[in-house]
Symmetry: C2
Subunit: 415 residues, 2 copies
């Protein structure tokens, strides 16, 4: 039996045990995991150094090295995330509905664990801890398949988590790490119907596309964001400037950052110039439509590909549009249904934008950067769903649950 | 452009229009659809006769002919389903959550249409009408791909529905029928990411398996049901008999019918014999474990395959188990997570069964035949989901919706 199948089978067996573990027992396990991570700091950093050394030998970029590197402070942050998740309310067992039928049967709809969650992700070792904690808190077993660049780190982290679980009521087998770094282990997970109940990819576009296009197991798609901000004719210039700069430049590498700025042609020409200068002052390169380049000789001309590009960088495409209709059409064509914003003082335009734009999160007069489980107050985030089934937008603990109908009768049969 | 891509593109454009159609306008369209179906009864029956003639020429079974055949009464039933769906509450626009954050942004979570639904189904022409009505009521466009055996009928039905829609506010393009009866049109739909938001298969196991294994578009899996009834030692014999006979024989062809009866070894031996005789008297063939065959010399011995078989017929597999643990293990091994029942007077055993059995619907002292959108009081049913994501169990109108976050600010940016 392959490593993937063997570990997924163990996870499925553990999921049945975990289904009967109480909230207090799960929280106790999370706290023990936190304590053990901190106690094992030196060993984890030593394992991390092996990964970093290998990365440097293979010419890993400095920014990737930074994402991979662990310090005592980062390990403490991972431990704190575990303690925070222990404090969150447990959604399992929540009664979502309850009703009786004329024949006397009583039907109750309750939240239950999904079962076994497969996580496929890239470099950052904190995902190993976060995903484990979120899955265990919701009564799910989890099969982790992290990036090969972090393999030593992930293995050592999971060793600590397993040691902690062995002192708890949560079966250690509920947490499985795939150590086969070959692409074949991902391919196998994607087809593991009957053992994995869902696969969640977290990482770059090529990872997500591979999962979506090849999985036969149900997928929760996360990630891609070509997000727009539309500055309407009536937008307050100071607000438009503040929101656009924040959406683009506060952290350009993330999926909820703005990639395209749309500006109403009737927005004041001086205000437009100041808006563009503010972006430029924040270090942002502007790639504009013909009218933009006419107004801003220093801007680069946008190519056809620019409108569909998620730069994840200090670059923005900028288009001057004739009005709300053209803005909506542009977003319909190029948006990825993640986060979209209108800055306007016109109430009717705002309502139309919020109604007609088809996206997980639609904003009136606020930065798209708020699309985030913590900013929404969920206390945790397993990812941001860009699909329309099951969960859409920031996913907190309830996104890791399913439901079950419990029906109570006293001998009812169907006529 | 292929027929599938062309029609899906039209459907997607129509979905954007439909998103702005009011509940009253949608209900008006549904009533018009009902009126037109009844008015076109003769033409629909003439088209249906072409399909039936072709079926008879090709040796179609009598039961399939019966499923395909339309009569004025059946067309009236289809029209009545449309009128009933018009009467149901519209879930679109429902506010599911609303909260403010410390920075002053207000977040509202509302129900929105999914977008474009692909339906892939087999012979019964009423699915053409039901699926159209349920999708349009929830603001979704729909691309229908029915079985080739019903192609003339479906085309004529859709012609009537289109005529009705042209007199309404719902765009006729929101309803598309694929007329290419070749398997290639199904294959193309399964890969139509970006145009179809979900594919829902309805039909036999091979149709569903093909969709699940080959779709890159998200799927809602429906259908397969190897459902069990466990008669515990303390079960009331009259209730056990009534539930078992109902679950098996009231309508054996459906997915919520019982396929395997599990009986506690300590259930009274005389009661056991009477239970088996009651099934036999209802025309049910029993395929039993060794102990069953020892007790009932007239029963056939079950083979290994019997335990995983969905007979959809007057056949049941019967196993005598040592107790609740063995019953739970059997269901874990062979169940399809559809509907499972315990008949018992022991409260602790009932609660343990309802807690531990992993299925869409778990019953205490009631027939599994109640797993149905109408029996649950939903007023409609698009299918019964046997997956754990998005929807589980009978799917009413809310299962055909997604959600969207609307965020209202006054200039908030992220720090």
């Amino acid at each position: 039996m392959s490593e993937v199948r063997e570990k997924a089978t163990l996870a499925k067996q553990a999921a049945a045990v975990l289904n009967n573990v109480t909230t207090d027992q799960k929280n106790d396990a999370l706290v023990r995991m936190a304590e053990r991570l901190v106690a094992d700091t030196a060993a984890i950093i030593a394992a991390n150094e092996l990964d970093l050394q290998r990365g440097r030998d293979q010419g890993m970029s400095v920014s990737l090295q930074d994402r991979l590197a662990l310090t005592p402070g980062r390990i403490e942050s991972m431990a704190q995330a575990l303690r925070d998740i222990a404090q969150l309310p447990d959604p399992i067992g929540d009664e979502l509905d309850s009703f009786s039928r004329p024949n006397g049967i009583r039907i109750q709809k309750i939240r239950v664990p999904i079962g076994v969650v497969g996580m496929i992700y890239e470099a950052r070792p904190n995902v190993t801890v976060d995903a484990s904690a979120l899955c265990l808190k919701t009564g799910n077993a989890v099969v982790l398949r992290g990036g090969s660049a972090a393999l030593h780190t992930n293995a050592r982290v999971v060793e600590s988590l397993h040691a902690a679980l062995r002192g708890s009521a949560v079966p250690a087998d509920a947490l499985q790490l795939i150590e086969n770094a070959d692409r074949s282990s991902v391919d196998e997970m994607l087809k593991l119907n009957g053992l994995l109940d869902v696969v969640i990819p977290r990482g770059g576009q090529s990872l997500i596309t591979n999962v979506v296009m090849n999985a036969t197991v149900p997928v929760i798609e996360t990630g891609a964001g070509v997000c727009h901000t539309f500055v309407d004719a009536s937008a307050l210039p100071a607000m438009a400037e503040s929101i656009a700069v924040n959406a683009k430049a506060q952290r350009p590498s993330v999926c909820n950052a703005m990639e395209t700025l749309l500006v109403h042609a009737a927005y004041g020409e001086g205000d437009f110039a100041r808006l563009a200068e503010a972006l430029r002052a924040a270090g942002v390169e502007i790639r504009g439509c013909a009218e933009t380049v006419r107004r801003l000789p220093w801007a680069l001309p946008a190519t056809a590909e620019d409108w569909g590009t998620e730069y994840n960088d200090y670059v923005v495409s900028l288009r001057i549009v004739s009005g709300l209709d053209e803005a909506l059409a542009h977003i319909r064509q190029y948006g990825t249904m993640h986060s979209e914003c209108i800055v306007t003082e016109d109430h009717a335009n705002a309502e139309r934008f919020l109604q007609e734009v088809d996206a997980a999160a639609v904003y009136h007069n606020a930065s798209t950067r708020f699309t985030d489980g913590f900013e929404f107050g969920f206390g945790a985030e397993i990812g941001i769903s860009t699909q329309k089934l099951h969960a859409r937008g920031p996913m907190g603990l309830p996104a890791l649950t399913s439901t079950k109908y419990r029906i109570y009768g006293n001998g009812q049969i169907r006529n």
